[in-house]
């Protein structure tokens, strides 16, 4: 049996500074890491520690991998000091993935904010690979300010598909920054769309407060709990249900998640904390 503690070394071949606090590491693992979009990996900085992150690249690519990381704690502080050529470690992939088969032929809604865009970019790029499989894809994205928007260079390309709608909003436009798209909370963008919520799926990922209110708003519109897919963030320390840090009732966020339907976890405690 494969030892899930073992680390695959990965060389950083490029770094994209997406925003002041967010950067994307482009990695070339020694061995290809085959994952399904929505799954996560444990990324370690040698001698410092490791943490769970979702790849932000398409799962149709396995020889290289993008991982988008926000500077928000001890480990990520070090991640933000790495430079091209350095080697980091990968373990995984772990956990559940987005059920693409259930999205096929549907009008899919994707709602994301902040660094929650990382797994959603992976999902989105994976969907674009077979874009005709889906009736339509609506991607709603929020950021605090124009400066905080990530994947800036790519979004123009994302708008060029017939059945894809990509809308962006910022919470506010500080003096000195320019913005010609929406200014509202990301949930405000829901007013601009017209999707029948009855049997269509929606995917939500972002900061806990955005996920909570995003989920509540989608339920209000008429989305069914079993059609709402959430990427939960808990302390996934080991990745395979052993360390118990991420336990949510009888579920492990790492093993049974990170992708849950709202229906699965609605009765568990403190899911948004």
């Amino acid at each position: 049996m494969v030892n899930p503690y073992e680390v695959i070394p990965a060389t950083i071949y490029d770094i994209v500074q997406e925003s002041p606090m967010i950067r994307t590491l482009r990695l070339r693992p020694r061995d290809p890491v085959e994952f399904k979009t929505g799954q996560f990996i444990e990324l370690s900085v040698p001698g410092i520690g490791e943490g769970p992150f979702t790849p932000s690249s398409s799962h149709f690519v396995s020889d290289v991998m993008d991982v988008t990381i926000m500077k928000t704690g001890f480990l990520t502080e070090y991640v933000h000091r790495t430079e091209p050529g350095e080697v980091v470690g990968l373990r995984g992939p772990f956990g559940s993935c987005y059920p693409l088969d259930k999205f096929a032929g549907r009008d899919l809604l994707i709602l994301g904010g902040g660094c929650g865009l990382a797994p959603l970019r992976s999902l989105f790029l994976t969907l674009l690979h077979e874009v005709e499989r889906y009736r339509s894809i609506t991607f709603l994205v929020g950021a605090k300010s124009p400066k905080e928007c990530i994947y800036k260079d790519e979004t123009a390309g994302w708008r060029q598909y017939e059945n894809v709608r990509f809308l962006r909003a910022v919470d506010e436009v500080p003096d000195g920054e320019s913005w010609n798209e929406d200014v509202c909370l990301v949930t405000g963008l829901l007013e601009k769309i017209d999707i029948d919520p009855t049997d269509n799926p929606a995917v939500v990922c972002g900061p806990p407060v955005m996920m909570k209110f995003g989920t509540m708003d989608l339920l209000k519109i008429g989305y069914k709990p079993e059609n709402l897919y959430l990427s939960m963030e808990k302390k996934m320390y080991c990745g395979f249900g052993q360390c118990r840090h991420c336990v949510m009732g009888e579920y492990y966020a790492c093993k049974d998640g990170p992708v849950f339907t709202y229906d699965q976890i609605r009765n568990e405690e403190a899911i948004w904390d």
Partner: protein, 360 residues
């Protein structure tokens, strides 16, 4: 077929194993009392000539978990061609703890390389308890002070002899050595009756102390007790984590990165859900910010969640957490206190006893 061997002869046999050439066991670990330890306090001790040890009484202060799931050990690139170990005098609570760890650590989805390594090269001699520690309460967790499985050999005291039961191939091998070295006689019905009587009698003593109730009766109470109840129950708890570290079934781990320039190295060490940072994610969010939340989590985990994950109670009733607690918190009182029910005294309460489904 069970056999009997004299107590002193059997202990000499164990001691002599140190010197057998070629060496059968690289290490022999027994319960022994250090000269400065109080009466009735035994710890797992590496057997050396001259050490006074005993193979019965009650549980050791430290759980045998510490010999299989080390406080800190390397889990990547392991190269451990070590020899076979023998642990003797292991009690039922620890055997049950190992059964839980086996399920968690060696299953279809996952094998912990270090745990399975230690496990595969260890022979276990368990023994029926003959005395009780003040914190013992295995009767409340669906068990009793003896083992029926999970050992290689088991010892039950009968007069001046041990009735020896084999529970595995390793046990059969070792029993062969016993028979070569010690005068043994085959067990008769009267011997088996005596073993049964001793078990029933010690279990009755446990029930007299703890009541004839099981934790299973309180799961609903644990699930439904409100935050005020947990606030009261956790009063005094300082969140030190002693209870989880000493627990024979707790296995929450931290993965420490000890990588060098040459290679990635991971070591795992114990973590405790009682520590404030346990479930905290980057940015500071945590589902259990208060001590009472973390305190409650331990009870939920032991008696409800682990059962749902591994189909086995997370508490074996060894009572080490009670002994270790600086605040004197007693899991028996916390659990029975979750419902308004009076805990029935011996012989007056529910008829759900440990003897259900167990041949004694």
């Amino acid at each position: 077929m069970e056999v009997l061997a004299g107590v002193e002869e059997f202990k000499s046999f164990i001691t002599d194993l140190i010197d057998i050439k070629p060496r059968k066991y690289s290490e022999i670990i027994v319960p022994a009392r250090a000269p400065d330890d109080p009466e009735g306090f035994y710890s797992l001790t590496s057997l050396r000539p001259g050490i006074e040890f005993q193979l019965e009484c009650h549980r050791t202060a430290d759980p045998v978990k510490v010999l299989f799931y080390l406080f800190r050990e390397r889990v990547t690139g392991r190269d451990h061609p070590g020899g076979e170990r023998l642990i003797a005098g292991v009690k039922a609570c620890d055997i049950k703890g190992m059964q839980l760890l086996d399920r968690a650590m060696i299953n279809d989805d996952f094998t912990d390389p270090a745990y399975s390594d230690w496990r595969s090269r260890t022979t276990i001699i368990s023994s029926d308890c003959t005395t009780l520690h003040s914190t013992c309460h295995c009767n409340m967790t669906g068990g009793g002070p003896w083992s029926e499985a999970g050992f290689d050999l088991n010892l039950s005291r009968v007069g001046n002899e041990y009735l020896i039961t084999s529970g595995s191939e390793k046990g059969e091998d070792l029993l062969g050595l016993v028979k070569d070295a010690v005068n043994c006689r085959n067990a008769g019905p009267a011997d088996l009756e005596q073993v049964k009587a001793a078990r029933v009698s010690l279990n009755a003593e446990l029930e007299a102390r703890n009541g004839r109730v099981g934790y299973a009766d309180f799961i609903e109470g644990i699930r439904s007790m409100d935050s005020g109840g947990w606030q009261d129950a956790s009063a005094g708890c300082v969140g030190c984590g002693a209870c989880t570290n000493i627990c024979p079934t707790c296995y929450c781990l931290l993965l420490n990165d000890e990588s060098s320039e040459k290679e990635f190295i991971k070591e795992r060490s114990y973590d405790s859900c009682q520590l404030a940072g346990y479930a905290t994610v980057a940015g500071g969010g945590t589902p259990r910010p208060l001590m009472r939340d973390r305190f409650r989590n331990r009870y939920l985990c032991k008696l409800d969640l682990i059962k749902r994950n591994l189909q086995i109670f997370g508490c074996t009733g060894c009572g080490r957490c009670i002994e270790a607690c600086v605040a004197g918190i007693d899991i028996r009182k916390v659990v029975t206190g979750t419902t308004g029910l009076e805990v029935p005294a011996s012989g007056t309460g529910s008829e759900k006893t440990v003897f259900q489904g167990r041949g004694v």
